[in-house]
């Protein structure tokens, strides 16, 4: 057991001596930056012992420099430092002081409360009000018109119209700020091409969507009096909201975006009494096979 103990101790001693690298000398190292600012630990070898010169960190050197600069400024006799005299008392304090001294003579007038100057708002909305016309450059989508059935119609019978205009967003810059604008159709002005217009708040629905038979009058339908080709169109009246990164807020006013013309053919329907249906007599006038 005694021999084992001695052995263990030897092992521990060896381990300790190996664990301390001679070259590192305990210094924390020295980079080029530290060399240049003069904060390096210098290891000196005096015989067997190793000394490390005490050194500062980069931050400490800079702090010392500041302190030194301050000290020179404070004590430099050749330089006079002019300090502006500023009365730091508030209006109330001044009044109180004044009243103490002069109150008996009724010379002091209490300060009038005035609203503080409004700080200049940084929000571009406030510095430069954004109007709806500024947003015209964002070119909201024009609504296209579709006549039903298939851009055809019959004089004297309602032709149904729908438009595809819907709410959408556009991104761009306004006064140098990135802006997202959301355009929502508020009203639609259907221009039927025969001089008649109709303003609606609906974009219109197909007969099928409305679940009504063809040629049923709808909120957007129009009945042409005469046959012919008409150039119909729809103006979409948009309201706008913009987002400058803090959420949408509305812009007053509306933007009217005219849609492209759509050619509508209106036919004349004639009625005639016939002896047979087209199924019975496909070759009869007006039947498919004729």
């Amino acid at each position: 057991m005694h021999v084992r103990f001695v052995l263990t101790c030897v092992v521990v001693l060896v381990a300790l001596s190996v664990g301390s690298p001679a070259h590192a000398a305990g210094g924390k190292g020295c980079t080029q930056a530290e060399l240049e600012i003069g904060v390096c630990h210098i290891t000196t070898n005096n015989g067997k012992s190793v000394d490390i010169e005490s050194a500062k960190t980069v931050g400490e050197v800079i702090k010392d420099h500041r302190r030194e600069t301050q000290r020179i400024n404070d004590t430099n006799p050749g330089e006079t430092i002019y300090t502006p005299v500023v009365d730091l008392r508030t209006r109330d304090e001044k009044f109180a002081d004044c009243n103490t001294l002069w109150g008996l003579m009724n010379r002091c007038v209490p300060p009038i409360e005035r609203p503080a100057d409004q700080p200049a708002p940084k929000d571009p909305r406030a510095t430069q009000p954004i109007t709806i016309t500024d947003l015209a450059s964002f070119s909201p989508a024009p609504g296209t018109l579709a006549g039903e059935p298939d851009n055809l119609g019959v004089a004297g019978l309602p032709t149904n119209f729908t438009t595809n205009a819907a709410a959408h967003t556009r991104s761009g810059t306004l006064f140098g700020y990135p802006v997202t604008a959301r355009f929502t159709p508020a009203t639609f002005v259907f221009r039927y091409g025969d001089g008649q217009t109709r303003t609606t708040t609906t974009a219109g629905k197909t007969w099928e969507a409305l679940r009504v038979p063809q040629f049923t009058p709808t909120d957007t339908s129009h009945t042409y009096a005469e046959r012919g080709a008409y150039q119909a169109s729809v103006d979409t009246v948009y309201t706008a909201e913009i987002d400058l990164g803090t959420g949408y807020f509305p812009i007053s006013g509306t933007l009217t975006i005219p849609g492209p013309p759509q050619s509508i053919q209106i036919y004349e329907a004639r009625t005639a009494l016939v002896a047979h249906t087209c199924d019975e007599d496909p070759a009869a006038e007006g039947c498919p096979a004729s």
Binding site: M1, R4, F5, L7, T8, V12, H23, A24, A25, G27, K28, G29, C30, T31, Q32, A33, E34, L35, E36, I37, G38, C40, H41, I42, T43, T44, N45, T57, V58, G59, V61, I62, D64, H65, T69
Partner: protein, 185 residues
């Protein structure tokens, strides 16, 4: 000591076991040792290693001399030359200089490079003598923050580490070396 004693006991038992195992396996054919990639030294001679290390150090110093502390990339300039504790310390020091908005002027000059040891396979030690007297660090007022006590020259014990085919500065310690301070540049 109880722990140490039991450790020795355990070691003893283990070695006895290994010995028995060795005796047993003596009768069986020795299996071919698995081919393991051995680390071969990158440089054939010390001279080559020292030359490569010196080139690295010169390149590093040249890169450092080009540092613009006001640039965001200042920390990246020397990155490919440094590693380990040196890289960490340097990053910290440069960050501090940047935080204080200091401006660096002038150039550090390598006066001497002396290879000391090529510890195969991946370490090179060298003594470097560097002159920093031409450099200055100025605060925002243009006043130097360098203390008067800064030596003009430093002798450094530099440890390089070889990683793949690259030599990187891993450690540097300033040492006293009168031959550096008196050497002619």
């Amino acid at each position: 000591m109880t722990l140490a004693t039991s450790t020795v006991r355990a070691l003893g038992a283990l070695s006895a076991g290994l010995l028995t195992l060795g005796m047993l396996s003596a009768c069986t054919p020795t299996p071919e040792p698995d081919p393991k990639p051995t680390k071969t030294a990158l440089f054939a001679s010390d001279k080559e290693a020292f030359k490569a290390a010196e080139e690295t150090y010169r390149a590093y110093l040249s890169a450092y001399n080009s540092i613009d502390l006001s640039s965001r990339d200042a920390l990246e300039v020397t990155r490919k030359y440094v590693t380990g504790p040196y890289a960490a310390s340097e990053r910290e020091a440069i960050s501090e200089l940047q935080a204080e908005k200091l401006t660096r002027t002038g150039e550090s000059v390598l006066i001497a490079f002396l290879g000391e040891a090529y510890e195969r396979p991946d370490r090179i030690r060298a003594r470097v003598c560097s002159d920093v007297s031409g450099t200055d660090l100025l605060d925002t007022d243009g006043t130097s923050v360098v203390p008067d006590t800064r030596p003009d020259r430093y002798a450094l014990e530099v440890l390089f580490e070889i990683t793949g085919t690259r030599i990187l500065i891993a450690e540097a310690n300033a040492v006293e070396d009168s031959s550096c301070t008196s050497a002619s540049s």
